[in-house]
């Protein structure tokens, strides 16, 4: 194996992610290749430095505020869901009643009835179109997914 085959394996070697066979191949190669041996040493030194780095832990007060904020969002999520369902039901029912009463009322001008029906149909078409587009994007966009497994 040449250097180009071995170098990509160096990260896996340092992280203990190689098979025994791959490990043996890396060790055999670096034993006879000074350039790859130097690469291995330098990457190991950097990895050791990175391994000593860790994030600052927030104070208890910061953690309490952080959790309270997450908790509020969890509660708000349920609130928004109920609000959205309720608003959709009320809006749909109200629109249905409005259209029905307007269309059946003989005193309302025909042009206004046509306008109301067109408005209702247009809203439905737009809603379905946007919904379909959103679903298509969600299926094809791997970054929109929150959980993959």
């Amino acid at each position: 194996m040449n250097c180009d085959d071995i170098r990509p394996l160096i990260a896996g070697y340092l992280d203990g992610e190689l098979t025994p066979d791959e490990r043996a191949r890396v060790e055999e190669h670096v034993g006879s290749c000074p350039d790859c041996a130097r690469e291995l040493r330098e990457q190991q030194a950097l990895k050791e430095e990175l391994d000593t780095m860790s994030f600052r832990e927030p104070t208890d007060a910061e953690l309490d505020r952080y959790w309270q904020s997450v908790y509020n969002r969890l509660e708000r999520g349920v609130g928004w869901l109920m609000f959205t369902i309720g608003a959709a039901v009320v809006a749909c029912y109200g629109a249905f009643i409005l259209v029905e009463e307007t269309v059946l009322d003989p005193s309302v001008a025909l042009i206004f009835k046509i306008g109301i029906v067109a408005l209702g149909l247009g809203t439905v078409v737009l809603f379905v179109s946007i919904l379909r587009e959103r679903l298509a994007v969600r299926r094809s966009d791997r970054y929109s997914s929150g959980v993959k497994r």
Partner: protein, 193 residues
């Protein structure tokens, strides 16, 4: 491959037990998990996003999303790598929205000026560590995310491959290239001093 759930040395409940309670809908248990990982979550998001307020917001959004999907979580595995996948997706979406470009262009490092380092959220700080932090922030998004996943989110190669939807070999070569780029940046900076 590191897959075992860590034991708690500080007398706290083992993570698997807390996660089982979370799956049963126990919000207090989830609060324990949030507090246990908040620091690491904010730090990882900060390295990816560069802005502290946005990092805090993204990490909280990721916890909310994790809670909503908690039933999909396998309690025999570790929480933080699973959460890290959610957090990474949220950060990438925010970066994409921020740039207004296609994700592929952004991830290929085609952006113009190097990102600002932002505040440094390290437990222990010295000149060398601050320099490494800045150098990580200056890597391309593709390189930065593998460094963050591997070193700060404790993800195994298998977990990274699943999160990034790429083969294991590609994870290895990306990580190798990222470390090489990081080393080069540090060497250049040292040379300039």
């Amino acid at each position: 491959v590191i897959d075992e759930v860590p034991e708690q040395a500080d007398g706290a409940q083992p993570e698997a037990e807390v996660m089982r309670r979370c799956r049963d809908g126990d919000r207090d248990a989830f609060g324990q998990i949030v507090k246990r990982y908040a620091g690491r979550a904010i730090g990882a998001a900060l390295l990816l996003l560069g802005d502290h307020d946005e990092a805090q917001d993204a990490s909280q959004e990721a916890f909310v999303r994790a809670w909503r999907n908690i039933r999909k979580f396998d309690p025999s595995r570790r929480f933080f790598p699973w959460y890290g996948t959610i957090l990474r997706n949220i950060c990438i979406s925010r970066l994409r929205r921020r740039s207004g470009k296609r994700t592929v262009e952004l991830l290929d490092g085609a952006s113009g000026t190097p990102p600002e380092a932002g505040p440094v959220l390290l437990a222990e700080r010295n000149e060398r560590k601050d320099r490494i932090w800045r150098a990580i922030r200056q890597l391309s998004e593709t390189q930065r995310e593998v460094i963050v996943m591997n070193h700060f989110q404790e993800m195994s190669y298998r977990e990274m491959a699943e999160a990034l939807d790429i083969p294991l070999g590609t994870v290895m070569s990306r990580l190798h290239n990222a470390r090489a780029a990081l080393r080069k940046r540090l060497a250049n900076e040292a040379h300039e001093l």
